[in-house]
Symmetry: C2
Subunit: 299 residues, 2 copies
């Protein structure tokens, strides 16, 4: 089963956005800067640092502009931000970001409940965001949420994800992110979707954004790698969750994923003990442990 | 990577021993009976219910005889107990158990620290336990601890595990259990060891006892299944831990493992929601959550 494994894997750290947004206690901007700098020191080369959303809805992200202003620019490190509408693209541009992520649900019901709009409206809005970002010369990752399933509509048909991916590629996005938003992927569905998708994507990188909601996160990583995926979103300490599944675990943990790669002889460029220090700092701040396993062990 | 997957997998529930022993709060025998009966109701066919150890050292297991006395006998359900010495075998026999598990560390240092004896002494004691169990017509599972590595001595050489397995088979044990006691296995080392071991074991079942200490539990299960392993030890809610690794997660969770199998179309005979009820009952009793992911979700 291991003849197809890659030599190198890229991990995109999404904890400062997808992890922090689930915490109700506001993290001081100072601490965010310290954590994100620590992530860069640990070897993460692509970090999703914030989202440009309504601070009334997500108070944790109210400091988006200030955070980006205060983050030290580092050679080789890309900071990205999540945007939900054209206003978000404008804010990201004004803040000086050169890469944004947009994210559209492949489930109509999930889109209506999560984003307050139909799938069709969300796709239209996505198109507008992409065009605006292109006008500002901003690179775009286009995410497809609930790509493997949705708690409301069940399994997502592969053709729907392919259609959305084709549309994004046609519009000229720079990277695709296939998201298992509610943790419903399994090794078979991961293989099925990536086997169908990768032959169409040519040189556009395809990342997998996996959640460990049902504990299958790293089993799914193994399946994805065997099919040629070399790009994963992860969150330090396995932070995050799912607003539609109470008590759910979050993203796959950066430390655990990096350790899996190390055990397989695959290069990630990540210094795991250094990364774990960031997670332990957050665990101390919140006074609680997160679902990630490895960060708790390293001394 | 999935052409070799089995149609059916057996899970041995070890939570009532390997999970409960890590909890300092004593679980009333009544509740243990309720949980173990619930596990049988959920489809578990082999349950390690206790260990026959010094109650001064492990107070949680002080009710071993009373528990077995009160457990309802059920057709098709095997209760097993862990024994550490010949006295334990005698106690298990007197209590009416028909299957015991012995467990010897493959690491000399770990054996000295955990069992207070050298590897050589432990093997001798194992032989004595096996002969005594045979005299009493008790079936024996022989476990090999730290089969993939040990926090003191690092990686365990495959030949040492093979030598111990050969000795156990020569003595006539009925099942082998290969234990990743400190969670140091990875998909490559799992493949390496099982590929070396399985051709020698003929019709003796080989179970894998995996811990999720570093988060690789289910990735290791995938690797093991691809190599022909169809028998895993699991603990409800992922209870358990490792006395040598502070803050470590425990056994792979029965619910999460059963869900992985279900997602792959592999039969385990387990009713996951029913099983989750047992875990939730324990979570309520202890007032805390365990590392398992799936049991928290099902309503």
């Amino acid at each position: 089963m291991y003849q197809n494994l890659p030599q190198k894997i890229s991990l995109t750290e999404v904890g400062p956005r997808d992890g922090f947004q689930f915490e109700t206690e506001i993290i001081p901007t100072n601490l965010k800067v310290g954590i994100i700098s620590g992530l860069a020191d640990a070897g993460l080369r692509r970090i999703q640092v914030t989202s440009f959303v309504n601070p009334g809805v997500v108070p944790q992200m109210a400091d988006a502009e200030e955070l980006i202003e205060r983050l030290p620019r580092r050679k080789g490190v890309t900071y990205t931000g999540l945007v939900l509408n054209t206003k978000g693209v404008e804010r990201a541009h004004a803040a000086g970001l050169e890469h944004v992520e947009i994210s559209i649900s492949s489930s109509d019901t999930h889109s209506r409940k999560n984003a307050g709009m139909s799938l069709e409206q969300a796709v239209e809005q996505g198109d507008a965001m992409i065009r605006l970002a292109q006008k500002h010369d901003i690179h775009i990752t286009a995410g497809i949420q609930c790509a493997f399933g949705c708690v409301y509509q069940g399994e997502t048909p592969v053709h729907r994800v392919l259609d959305m991916a084709r549309n994004f590629m046609h519009l000229g996005v720079h990277r695709l992110s296939i998201a298992d938003t509610t943790g419903m992927a399994n090794p078979l569905s991961v293989s099925r979707l990536t086997d169908a998708l990768l032959p169409e994507t040519d040189d556009i990188p395809v990342g997998l954004h996996l959640h460990d909601t049902r504990g299958l996160g790293l089993a799914n990583v193994m399946a994805a790698m065997s099919c040629g995926i070399t790009d994963f979103d992860t969150a330090l300490a396995g932070m995050g969750g799912c607003p539609f599944v109470t008590g759910a675990a979050g993203n796959i943990a950066t430390e655990d994923t990096a350790y899996l790669m190390k055990s397989l002889g695959i290069d990630t460029g990540i210094d795991i003990p250094r990364l774990s220090e960031c997670s332990k700092r957050l665990a101390r701040f919140f006074g609680k442990q997160f679902p990630g396993k490895l960060y708790r062990l390293s001394s």
